[in-house]
């Protein structure tokens, strides 16, 4: 791969996976964490997100019912492929 082409690629798995992000340490690092409550605060009803009725117009295309159906079909094929691999066990030799 040419150098120019490599430069066009902004993503580096090494940066993403192995680089340890610089982090604050000591008790102060936990201050905002302990302030954050998982449940909506009772005194702040505005925090609670309203459980609105389903509005399917807000569902992204990757989560549409067709996409979920396709994923179900893929699940079945994967299951079959795993069973096939098991049932032909011992037939492949690597050496």
């Amino acid at each position: 791969m040419s150098k120019a082409k490599r430069k066009q690629r902004p993503y580096s798995p090494r940066r993403a996976k192995l680089a340890t992000p610089a982090q604050a340490s000591g008790p102060a690092a936990f201050a905002s964490l302990v302030e954050t409550k998982l449940a909506p605060a009772k005194k702040e009803p505005a925090e609670a997100a309203p459980e609105a009725p389903k509005d399917t117009r807000q569902v992204p295309d990757a989560l549409s019912s067709e996409a979920i159906q396709a994923s179900q079909e893929s699940t079945l094929r994967h299951r079959k492929a795993r069973r096939n691999a098991k049932s032909r066990g011992g037939r492949l030799l690597f050496g």
């Binding site: 791969m1 150098k3 690629r9 902004p10 993503y11 798995p13 090494r14 993403a16 996976k17 192995l18 992000p21 610089a22 982090q23 905002s32 964490l33 954050t36 409550k37 998982l38 449940a39 909506p40 925090e47 609670a48 997100a49 459980e51 609105a52 009725p53 389903k54 509005d55 399917t56 117009r57 807000q58 569902v59 992204p60 295309d61 990757a62 989560l63 549409s64 996409a67 979920i68 994923s71 179900q72 893929s74 699940t75 094929r77 994967h78 299951r79 079959k80 492929a81 795993r82 096939n84 691999a85 098991k86 032909r88 066990g89 011992g90 037939r91 492949l92 030799l93 690597f94 050496g95």
Partner: protein
């Protein structure tokens, strides 16, 4: 130098490229060896300008092979190795290769940097170190070993490489060739040493014994994975930085990375008979090959084995549907109208170690309140993370995530334990034993895509 003379000599610094001929002369009696040629070619391409010859190197992996096999032969074979370390002119450590005194099969434990040609596409790299003469050097690489064709064959080498990677990267126990030979022998009816190779059953048994039980996927026959299923499966494991083993007729290699070349997915494989980082296309079987009407070529893909650390119980494909349904439900109920708009989206999933996932949460651009909330939810060690990404942004930038949902990887496939999620303007958690859904608004000025947690953004 004759292999029997290993152990003689002294430490030497060699000035490269001037002294390449010295190195090649020294190891010529051990050749020809494709992996050794690949190693020299690779470090040349990375700009190696100095090599250190570490003499009388006691390589634990070779000592294990020696004790179990070579010590029981008549040939005069030394019990120690030599090791070559390489640096660039700017003192960047490129890694090492340990050289066994075995003619034709000299490449022992090796850690070599992928270099610019491969580093963007290889997700399975682990940090290792070498301390020749007490001076420590660190290196990020995929661990490599070539087969010695007697005690171990390609399958043993691939299992060793994957186990060594899990040792260095995820803290799994260090494994030696004798453990692999012995584990595979549990389903062997013939003699074990010298080895004639391993069957797929033996590979599976050995991986299970090493606590890396594999999910096995058939590719080569009818009713196996389709090409799009195969690519999806590869993306999943490589985005998780989990190497997979690839079976082709008669041969096993490790797949450790992938990338798109002219719109087609290509993988980076690690081949014990050729070299550490090799780019290769996906060779999906033809319809005739799948049905058995045509004989398979030697490069056709037959099976994929995905070795996973112990407690990733739920295969993702078995839990994908309920995860997507939950994410769709959250989007339908809690995402403010027009926030996701007309974006084209895609879903990407990966498995992550919780400490690594949480350590990187705050540096990925999620709102602080979301990162703080996610970080305090307890969980088991491994998580399935499913990202909703902007499909167009994802093609050109890793900052493409619109939201994500995280599931406990020890979940029962019929009773998923959702842990936390976030979508634009909302964060969700399911804390405590009752797992009641808690939804909290997060003030947001529009949608701000953030950095993916996948290793390759494939």
């Amino acid at each position: 130098m004759h292999p029997a003379d290993f152990g003689l000599g002294e430490p030497r610094l060699l000035d490269l490229p001037r002294e390449w001929a010295t190195i090649e002369r020294r190891y010529k009696p051990l050749g020809p060896s494709s992996p050794l040629e690949w190693v020299f070619e690779h470090v040349r391409s990375l700009g190696a300008s100095v090599a250190l010859l570490e003499h009388q190197y006691l390589d634990r992996d070779y000592r294990d092979e020696y004790r179990q096999f070579y010590a029981k032969t008549f040939r005069w074979i030394p019990d120690r190795c030599e090791r070559l370390h390489f640096w660039t002119r700017r003192n960047r450590y490129l890694g090492y290769v340990s050289l066994r005194p075995i003619a034709g099969r000299p490449v022992g434990r090796t850690m070599l940097a992928p270099g610019p040609e491969f580093e963007d596409d290889v997700s399975c790299v682990a940090a290792g170190s070498a301390s020749p003469y007490g001076i420590r050097n660190t290196i990020e690489a995929f661990p490599y070993i070539s087969q010695d064709r007697q005690y171990g064959r390609c399958a043993h080498a691939v299992i060793w490489m994957i186990a060594q990677y899990h040792h260095l990267r995820f803290g799994a126990p260090q494994r030696f060739m004798s453990e692999i030979v012995s584990a595979a022998a549990s389903v062997e009816f013939g003699r074990v040493v010298p080895s004639d190779g391993l069957t797929d059953d033996q590979v599976g048994a050995a991986l299970r014994y090493l606590d890396l039980g594999a999910l096995q996927y058939g590719i080569g026959e009818e009713d196996d994975l389709t090409q799009s299923d195969l690519e999806k499966t590869l993306r999943r494991y490589l985005n998780s930085a989990m190497p997979v083993a690839l079976a082709t007729p008669g041969h096993l290699t490790a797949v450790i990375g992938a990338g798109y070349e002219r719109g087609r997915l290509e993988v980076i494989s690690c081949d014990d008979e050729h070299g550490v980082y090799m780019r290769r296309p996906i060779r999906f079987p033809t319809a005739e090959e799948r049905s058995g009407e045509a004989e398979k070529d030697s490069d056709v893909w037959e099976m994929l084995l995905a070795p996973l650390p112990g407690r990733i119980y739920a295969p993702y494909e078995e839990v994908e549907k309920p995860i997507l349904e939950e994410l769709a439900d959250l989007a339908a109920r809690f995402t403010a109208p027009d926030l996701l708009g007309e974006r084209r989206t895609r879903v990407r999933e990966y498995v992550a170690e919780v400490r690594d996932y949480k350590a990187r949460l705050r540096s990925r651009g999620l709102p602080q309140a979301v990162a703080d909330a996610h970080a305090q939810v307890p969980s088991a060690r491994w998580l399935w993370v499913v990202e909703l990404q902007d499909a167009e942004l994802a093609k050109r930038s890793p900052e493409c995530v619109l939201g994500e949902i995280v599931v406990d990887a020890t979940s029962d496939r019929d009773d998923l334990v959702f842990l936390y999620a976030n979508l634009p303007g909302t964060r969700i958690s399911w804390p405590g034993p009752r797992r009641n859904r808690q939804v909290v608004r997060v003030p947001a000025a529009g949608v701000q895509p953030y950095l993916t947690g996948t290793a390759l953004n494939l």
